[in-house]
């Protein structure tokens, strides 16, 4: 007979309680929905939904991965707040994605800063609740360069862009987050994209490769969530470099 049965202790109850002890992997997608993206909006919607579906197939991810999706053009909007994969209502997400209006300009700076605020709130909430979490992964997908309606608009956005460059660099230096920049198509401003990538290398893919891109994003989240083993900073950096490699491999295949 088991020692715990002898002691009158129900190990199953302990294990059930243990199941709720989790360490969260926060993942954030910042998606550009400016006017120029409209031509492949359908691909974008199906790819995001496929990403959620694919990740949800893994029971562990349902509990341990928290996803947040933010979209931006001239303004930004969080269409999915940090939510456990298992709790994501796919129908509602699909509805929200389909209701998006692909128009306006590309104000990346304000969106990136808002995304960091969202991550900070999530961190604070987790600390309050005594929950443990891993280094958040962020993917910024954009297809354009910033264009402004007025000079004040320009100044404001430039200021926010500058702030986001500094925040990304700080994030990378303090190892408090992984920020991946993926530019889609050839209408991007390489200088801005390079600055947004901070110390990392920005990725660029052809707009026909949207599905491939999201597959790689999904694989990266999957791999990070599957490998929540002890590691050091160097390995963690390598892990995300592998993501970049993966994308470039796809490009070569094309």
């Amino acid at each position: 007979m088991s020692i715990f049965t002898d002691l009158g202790i129900n190990v199953d109850n302990i294990n059930k309680r243990n199941a709720s002890y989790d360490r969260i992997l926060p993942a954030m997608l910042i998606i550009d929905i400016s006017g120029s993206v409209e031509k492949y909006s359908h691909k974008m919607i199906t790819s995001i939904l496929d990403l959620v579906k694919k990740l949800k197939k893994n029971d562990t991810h349902n509990n341990n991965v928290m996803l947040c999706i933010m979209v931006f053009n001239s303004s930004y909007k969080t269409i999915l707040e940090f939510t456990r994969l298992g709790d994501i209502d796919e129908k509602l997400l699909e509805k929200n994605l389909k209701e998006l209006h692909y128009h306006g300009r590309t104000h990346t700076g304000s969106a990136v800063m808002a995304a960091f605020d969202e991550i900070d709130s999530m961190r604070a909430a987790m600390r309050r609740e005594g929950r443990k979490f891993y280094v958040p992964i962020t993917f910024l997908v954009t297809d354009g360069n910033p264009n402004y309606t007025s000079s004040s608009d320009h100044q404001h956005e430039e200021k926010l862009l500058q702030e986001s460059y500094e925040t990304i660099l700080k994030l990378q230096e303090t190892k408090k987050g992984f920020f991946n920049v993926i530019s889609v198509g050839d209408n991007v401003d390489p200088e801005i994209i390079a600055k947004l990538a901070g110390k990392g290398t920005p990725l660029s893919i052809d707009q026909t490769d949207i599905e491939t891109l999201f597959e790689a994003v999904s694989d990266t989240i999957d791999s990070a969530a599957n490998n929540m083993d002890t590691m050091d900073e160097e390995t963690l950096n390598e892990k995300y470099d592998a993501f970049r490699q993966k994308i470039s491999n796809y490009e070569e295949d094309e």
């Binding site: 302990i14 050091d232 160097e234």
Partner: protein, 316 residues
Amino acid sequence: MPCFSVSSATKGQNHIRRGKPCDDAVFTAVSGECRAVAVADGAGSRTHAAQGAAAASKIAALFVSQEFDDLYSLPAGEAGSMVLYIVRKALADRAEELCCSVRELGSTLMVCGAHNDGRSLTIHIGDGCIERPEGNGSVSVVSDYEHEEAENITELITSASPKIKEHKSCRRLVYMLRTDGTEPLLSDPCLCRLIFSLAVLLPEAKFREACAELFIVPDDSTVAVAGDLSAAVDTVMSATDTTVLSRLLGIPEKTVRCRRSCYRRVLTAAASSPCTMSKMIRLSRQHTAYRTIKKLRPLIDCGLLQYRNGFFRMEK
């Protein structure tokens, strides 16, 4: 007064699912009057984590047990650096054998060396936790790892300049070393106390069975308890829940409540050195050998106390 050690390494559920080996390793070494136990948690992200953890724990335990006196007399912080240096040298040799780079053998390391004269030394690199269960039921932390931000980043013995936490004491103490895989369960002080009690009260094989049954957790989980046996018994007999003690000893709870202090005196004395019948008669506050044996029968029956050649002993 003898020191003791008990350990158990349980493979994590994620490792079982992925067909990976247990990346935790634990090694115990005894040299003369000193005993050392080392626990290493191989970094899952490294290709030869299990081999690295095995090599690191083995060399660290052997080195600390053999060189305890010299290490203990070194100025604060130097014993840890010395152990790290030796472990790294051993890892370099192992890497050569395995034809891989040293970094692929990365692991954390916790070592506890205890001398029969009561001195003890702990060295801790990377995550995991070294704790000291107290007689009042609380668990005090000797050294742990403060994650600055995310939970999956830690320092390894192969990191450039890992932080070494070292602790020395000349008091008779008992330590519990545990890898981060145990955290889902042992961050609960009740379970932590229970595991400590089982480590002291059960034979090692049974303790391992209990750990295998309990640690159904994602990561590999290793627990090692080491230190002064009489201090361990004293702590366990003071802090263990009455129900648990009554089930382990096979006697009613009411009897445990009446006899707890007697059993504590008897076991603590027997753990320190073999006791004669007359000493046991005095400690158990009985008048005859017959009544003493009768009172201590539950301890003898469950194997905690041995009576042979006219002496009572508690051995682990």
